[in-house]
Symmetry: C2
Subunit: 166 residues, 2 copies
């Protein structure tokens, strides 16, 4: 079989890093504890410097699923509303979810998600930290890579985060 | 526990139908046959009148996964680039993938995906039909529904499909 994975270089690492630290939402994949099948939902995403953060309701199906099986998947990198969506870079993260203290991330989360002040302190909301392990990067057709955690920090300048949606 | 699922009405059915028939891409969730965990990737999506269509490469990981375990999940409904992404309607489909003949869907697929002529006939490309069974609908905060296949056709006028991305 043809090897479609290209050797990782600094351009790929920088693109992967930018996709991750600038993600404000993404598609979360979990395992449905009842069926064993995959379920994909949209979630808000934050970034604490080393891990992706998710603020979710304990009443939601994905929270029940994460608690039953913490191996998740997160797709980040929103396509433009114009042009072929498959040429737009995106990254599939394969992290493991761990409960974290949402109060410690309040300021950063609310800066990234300006409307979240409405529900951040609701009793049913909780936060998971998603430490990224292996994470394929698809930079568009013919630009597939397979990056690990070390590629997030290897020889990179720190990019400023983009602002939240207006 | 609070029941967050609202009774299904025709507005919900129409919204769900529009999200599905207008989807040109989405987030596909599959089970990784090696790890048993979920994997989410971006895929191009079509619609044949009764089922969502996926054109994928046999060299891709998601195709290997679908062949091993055809229960998938598809998230459709792209958020705007402005405003809170979680207020934008989206729908999680929980279909089962079945191999279908891509030649029978060529004209419709290429109209929906203008660039696909470049690779549609590549030997490694194949098409799966995703018949939709249960499919939660999230119309934004406080607007969650749980729809079945009958809700796709029940008492609805046929909406014209939106054009592909310019």
């Amino acid at each position: 079989m043809t090897n479609l994975i290209r050797p990782t270089d600094d351009d790929a690492r920088q693109l992967a890093r930018n996709l991750l630290i600038n993600a404000r939402h993404g598609a979360l994949g979990v395992i449905d504890p009842e069926t064993g099948g995959p379920v994909v939902t949209r979630v808000a995403i934050g970034w604490d410097g080393t891990a992706a953060l998710l603020l979710v309701s304990s009443l939601s199906g994905h929270t029940t699923a994460i608690r039953a099986s913490p191996a998740t998947s997160l797709l980040v990198g929103q396509p433009s509303l114009w042009g072929d969506p498959l040429t737009h870079p995106r990254r599939t993260l394969l992290p493991t979810a761990e409960k974290t203290d949402e109060a410690a991330h309040r300021a950063r989360w609310q800066a990234d998600h300006p409307k979240s002040g409405l529900y951040f302190d609701f009793a049913d909301f909780l936060m998971f930290s998603h430490v990224v392990c292996v994470a394929p990067l698809n930079g568009g057709f013919g630009n597939a890579f397979r990056l690990g955690p070390q590629d997030l920090t290897h020889g990179l300048t720190t990019s400023p985060r983009s602002p939240a949606n207006p």
